[in-house]
């Protein structure tokens, strides 16, 4: 299985994602933001960082880069896409996921580890977890405060599209939302960083299962 990792100017978790993908047993392919080409990958990770310096709004400029056209088509055809942190911000700006990420309520950049709970396993990126499983993941963001209007929020809850929820909400996000998916469940966005905990040498490998999930999901659906 080939998993592509998009590299924007200002991405800073692309190498971590690459490492996690390879550790999970997939082939990692870097995808340059200025190439309208997904190089025939089977899944795509939109990594964290500060694409285009977060100018205007996080993800607002990255959302119009060349690689996004093919990515949107890939997502609409059901291809598995995972946005992490800034990647989630890019996916909401691109309307591949609903809502938006506001400034943290306490107005500070938060860099810590938080306890979270996996809410659903019916996505390519959470298929190996059990529902209710608690995992501790790193967060590092200034705009992680998930917001959606009341109707969207109700839809997400009613349709079981909250993938991950904070047990220690670090940013004020509505309903303690740490991760969501689209209606078709192939596009997932997480504010925490599973790729930063993909090896015991980093203190934990609790996040590796996110990447192993997509491999197992691909095998199951072939």
């Amino acid at each position: 299985m080939k998993i592509g990792i998009i590299v924007f100017p200002g991405s800073n978790c692309d190498r971590d994602a690459l490492y996690a993908v390879e550790r999970a047993g997939a082939e990692a392919i870097e995808l340059w933001h200025a190439d309208a080409d997904l190089k025939s990958v089977d899944a795509v990770v939109v990594p964290g960082g500060f694409s285009y310096g977060d100018y205007l709004r996080p993800g607002a400029i990255a959302r119009f880069s060349k690689v996004m056209g093919p990515l949107e088509a890939f997502a609409k055809e059901g291809g598995p896409v995972l946005g992490i942190c800034n990647g989630l911000q890019v996916l909401t700006e691109a309307h591949l996921l609903p809502g938006a990420l506001l400034r943290n309520t306490h107005m500070r950049f938060v860099c810590t580890r938080v306890r979270t709970r996996v809410e659903i396993r019916g996505t390519p990126w959470s298929s190996l977890f059990t529902v209710g499983e608690e995992i501790t993941l790193p967060v590092a963001h200034n705009e992680g405060n998930y917001f959606a209007d009341e109707r969207t929020l109700q839809e997400l809850e009613y349709e079981g599209r909250v993938v991950l929820r904070y047990l220690d909400n670090p940013n004020g996000s509505l309903n303690d939302i740490a991760g969501i998916c689209n209606e078709e469940r192939n596009v997932v966005g997480l504010m925490p960083h599973p790729e930063r905990v993909s090896d015991p040498i980093l203190g934990s490998d609790a996040g590796l299962k996110v990447f192993e999930s997509v491999l197992s999901f691909a095998v199951a659906t072939l």
């Binding site: 205007l56 709004r57 607002a60 119009f64 909401t92 700006e93 809502g99 938006a100 506001l102 400034r103 943290n104 309520t105 306490h106 107005m107 405060n145 917001f147 959606a148 209007d149 004020g172």
Partner: protein, 74 residues
């Protein structure tokens, strides 16, 4: 022509930046401020104003969380 665009958080949406400023003002001795909203000002030189609305909607503001208004200033 020159166009001025004002983008700000939609009313009712949490504005932590405005709230931080509101709390800072009394500390400097400025009283009687009950609400503060911090937005963004964009000024640009354009050939015609025909596409400004589209620019606002697609890039300059995120309609999920922000509202905008614009005017031709010269």
């Amino acid at each position: 022509m020159k166009v001025r665009i004002l983008v700000r958080p939609k009313s009712g949406i949490l504005d932590p930046q405005g709230e931080a400023v509101r709390r800072a003002l009394p500390a400097l001795g400025f009283g009687g401020v009950s609400s503060v909203h911090v937005g963004r000002l964009v000024e640009m030189e354009v050939e015609s104003a025909g596409e400004v609305e589209g620019m606002c909607r697609r890039l300059l503001a995120n309609p999920t969380i922000e509202e905008y208004e614009w005017e031709v200033i010269s």
